[in-house]
Symmetry: D2
Subunit: 368 residues, 4 copies
Amino acid sequence: MVRDWMLKEIPELKIHGRTTECLEPLTLFWTASGFECNVSGTELSVEVEVTYDIYEPWFSYTVNGDWIGRQMLPAGRYWVPLFRGMSADKVKNVRFYKDLQAMSGDGNSYIHIHALRCDGQFYPVAQKAVKLEFIGDSITSGEGLFGAKQEEDWIPMFFSALKSYTYLTADMLDAEYRVFSQSGWGVCNSWDNDPDCAVPKYYREICSLMPGEKNERLGGNRPNDFSSWQPDYVIANLGTNDAGSFDQPEWTDEASGRRHKMHKNDDGSYCAEDVEFFRDSVKKFLHTLRECNPAAHIIWCCGMLGTSLQLPICRAVDEYSSETGDHKVSYLQLPDTDDTNVGSRSHPGALCHRQAAEVLSKYIKTLM
Amino acid sequence: MVRDWMLKEIPELKIHGRTTECLEPLTLFWTASGFECNVSGTELSVEVEVTYDIYEPWFSYTVNGDWIGRQMLPAGRYWVPLFRGMSADKVKNVRFYKDLQAMSGDGNSYIHIHALRCDGQFYPVAQKAVKLEFIGDSITSGEGLFGAKQEEDWIPMFFSALKSYTYLTADMLDAEYRVFSQSGWGVCNSWDNDPDCAVPKYYREICSLMPGEKNERLGGNRPNDFSSWQPDYVIANLGTNDAGSFDQPEWTDEASGRRHKMHKNDDGSYCAEDVEFFRDSVKKFLHTLRECNPAAHIIWCCGMLGTSLQLPICRAVDEYSSETGDHKVSYLQLPDTDDTNVGSRSHPGALCHRQAAEVLSKYIKTLM
Amino acid sequence: MVRDWMLKEIPELKIHGRTTECLEPLTLFWTASGFECNVSGTELSVEVEVTYDIYEPWFSYTVNGDWIGRQMLPAGRYWVPLFRGMSADKVKNVRFYKDLQAMSGDGNSYIHIHALRCDGQFYPVAQKAVKLEFIGDSITSGEGLFGAKQEEDWIPMFFSALKSYTYLTADMLDAEYRVFSQSGWGVCNSWDNDPDCAVPKYYREICSLMPGEKNERLGGNRPNDFSSWQPDYVIANLGTNDAGSFDQPEWTDEASGRRHKMHKNDDGSYCAEDVEFFRDSVKKFLHTLRECNPAAHIIWCCGMLGTSLQLPICRAVDEYSSETGDHKVSYLQLPDTDDTNVGSRSHPGALCHRQAAEVLSKYIKTLM
Amino acid sequence: MVRDWMLKEIPELKIHGRTTECLEPLTLFWTASGFECNVSGTELSVEVEVTYDIYEPWFSYTVNGDWIGRQMLPAGRYWVPLFRGMSADKVKNVRFYKDLQAMSGDGNSYIHIHALRCDGQFYPVAQKAVKLEFIGDSITSGEGLFGAKQEEDWIPMFFSALKSYTYLTADMLDAEYRVFSQSGWGVCNSWDNDPDCAVPKYYREICSLMPGEKNERLGGNRPNDFSSWQPDYVIANLGTNDAGSFDQPEWTDEASGRRHKMHKNDDGSYCAEDVEFFRDSVKKFLHTLRECNPAAHIIWCCGMLGTSLQLPICRAVDEYSSETGDHKVSYLQLPDTDDTNVGSRSHPGALCHRQAAEVLSKYIKTLM
């Protein structure tokens, strides 16, 4: 018999991704956030409430680990069917993934989950042995993983959780994972030199890069409770936008007059002071990551869109390690994008993400 | 400015798959049937009307050739958004695919397309140089291409148009294609010896294997107008269910008392008379295919689920060719399913379909 | 202490390939014929005696299954070092392969093995569970597996035992194997219509296609003792040269006036009578194969250089099977050569042979 | 007509690898050193003179770019046939490769080339547009590229020039290349802490790591004339043995009492002072490389056997670059060895070398 379940009525439900404790409704902030359930019965639907001003969210879902569907979520509150016609007695594993990153450019872009509808029972979801946290930029947000190569629009449709190296790495390691990422952002500043668009500045809160009063109300600006979820491996894939900002004009905040820019020398090389500023920012972020994740192995990665700041990153990691005696930190180079593996918007494509996941999961296995 | 377009208002629209001339609404019968348009503007939605008693339809779609979404279609008449936020001036190619075969077991399972909604203009769709028609069983219907390996439910969710060797072959050849297929059916009879479930019996009509009065009303039982669409290559991938029926009990029609069975000898080999009946059926179907498609090259395929009846098929093809002097007919063996490439429901998986598409497209190129 | 061993002093030695019982010296006739030994000690050499008028033989060898060396063998009697400096106590498996087919065009082209020199002991070679016999033409002789794509010379240097689908299939199945093949020959006649160059005519003798008095003396013309080595699978990969002969001029034996040719009709199709002659030849050869190998499963293959006579082959196999009730015979299509996998002399390259071995070994596993 | 040519009679001959100007005979020191010629005629042989006390040399050769043969070279002076029976008029490109590194443990291990024998003419060898120099250890010497996985003997048979990432990278870039490498050696010391076994100490001479009076006589200890051959890219793949030496006992020179060791801290991490010593050694070697190769781009690589000293290497490269303003230096991580790509002696296998060559050649293309 089909009935509706409020989320709080389902203690077996597993929530993925950084969020608040609220279940009426559950708010999804980040890429790959969502819920997971083990459920019997012939059919399952989910009641979503979707809001946005500019950037509509998309979602994907798996049944027993196999990707079944992906669709745009128009604004409104409504039911979405996930499966029907299945054998009633068998327990199915269902995982709902937000395909879109937290959109710092649209303070109204959210998916809320209100309820599930099914004719079966819920069962506990098995705990994974390994936990991963991915921190990054557009690459980690899966930008460019949907869409033909010639696409240039910066739209939600072209972001993907499931084709990403984050999903694939977790899958190869049979791990649970979270994603903390923002397209265009870096360690020091964004691709266009905005120093407020630096990922480390927002790491301690649940999702404080979402702007506005609504995020305040939803609890995104509250401190993240790190004790509730401790990753075994933190993968920081940052530096690509910092590198790009050396080629971009100065950023100016018209209101305050604040200015910022990463400079190049006349010979085209990076200005030493700015590289030092970058190195210091990497080191500071390593201190933050260690403070928040005392037992995790921290892996800094780069390379999927070139290795411009690889040497300063490695030096920062080495100096941090020497200075602190913290040896649970390392560096890994990931496969580069080229003609054979590029996706849309000149970003790494599905093949590049798969190659990266293979390198990364193989590397993590050597650390286990 | 967003407006709604009745299909008949869009002469540039291209219809794929066997169907009637009716556009109010357009009825989709077969796997991979649907529509294709070139359209400018920032957004596009489609108005569908979906009916079913047991088997709900699913659809997938591509934008500029890249797979964007896939979802279940609940019963009702409603709008489904396909894209939004794209550059207004660029012309986008959009292709809508029915993911589910014509379901002969549910006389009410249809997708109807009523209208499109967009803020741009429609442009002509370029004609492809090559046309393919695929005729087959569950393999050609893409059964087992979604779902985890352990899945056993026979449900629409596990059928796929886009992961199939049919889509992939057409893509590799830059060809237009149609699919005429029914899960469980064969040349002589179905997997369980039902002689009415023989694909050749229904080839001359638009979609006469759909039962009931509704199909009559929709025009599915009308003769197909072969002159309106002539394939360059007809691929008949049939024989797997005929082979299976030798191991199944006799079929009996309780009403009429009709009976039918393909027999095995005591030593486990196929009974010679039944094999001869099978060979004759292959030859008869070749005559039908030639009659309907005078200029096409006909390729009979088998092998994706074993090659049990390969020799009788080849002999039938050779005899047909010798007897008629028709040399535009040949045989091609396709890659077999094994542990490495199997999908759900013990059917060929995505990798097997890709391997088959590579073999088939490579072979067709040698015929060009 | 290094000493020389006559072959007859080494009962543990395993001889591969059809040959006589003579060990003083051992004569190697066919592709992939040679010897295999398990030996301790630090070094091993082999004493060969090589003769030829036109076509010098080459050999390859493996140590513990890994390909170590390949070299031309000049005429003369001399020692060739195979390994040195290895751990004395470990037992090494060494396999010597003739890389060149029996050259019917040079009655003096032979490798003889006289002795081995080592400082260790010989140990028994483990018996393989499966035995394969490959029968074929240039494809099975590994022609075109060495040499750059542009090479056109028909010389021994471009033949290979170890890159061939025969070696690879045996390796994938952990099988012992023999090769019976001749470049340019077919079931009915050679590529240029010579009816004496038909492989079946020579199948019952050890190596009767080598011409001249020397072969008589060496015993190549003696009946093969089939009881001494019975394959589990016979793979007949023949028909490619028969297909080619339809496009070649008539063959005439100036001495006797004998003539022969396979004809085409005016429309480019094969002449029905000649195809029937071909089919009969296939059937006759199947009878021969069955007589010589009562328990083997016989697999007729084609496809690595096109499938021109595939239908007549299949029909012949089907008719043979129907007429005799012999069901241990089947047909398998192998992957075709194209731009991506071609070798030298427009023959299948190493990749094509690997693809063929994968298809063939996978198929044989389904028969086990 | 066949005749013998002294090397000095063949101005068209191209010599590969660091060596002296002597051609009577030509001495081959390093891996992949040898000669290359364009020659017409039907046959070609080479007269070698081979010496060794412990480690016999091996060679491989290509004809028109395709690997044709590989064999052990016993001691003595004799002719080795390379091809015969080829079309007389066509010009063939032949390249002879020493498969074995300079063996610092055997002062008598050399290949000398005296003469060529052929019935054709010699023609100039086209100049390649790009030149590469590889500097490294056993990985760069191709150790472990021949032999079954279980092999543990450290013998010449298991070294390979042609399966190595050096050959493959040059091939992918259509480049000329040289190899300067020694198994077991590092930047600071060997795998067992011998500070004399440091590659940088020998870089300025032709081949000064070969011991003894014979090398003196052959000219191996003379300064290398860097002006005669300037690489466009220097690839330094060093650091693996330095990492290993932290786990090995102290090295002691019994005669002088000299001692050396890289130490670990009690917690298993590397001792800071020793890491600093390593970093300084990397920086010093970068200065040397730049001095000898003023215009080359220098790429330091590591990773094919783990990345233990990657961070110190990167920091050294970054510091060198910052301190000197030399920006034509960078770092590249290469694919690691694992179960799927390992060769013999627990070294990277052919697949790992191919993967490394793909990463490296792709990277070099981004620098062009």
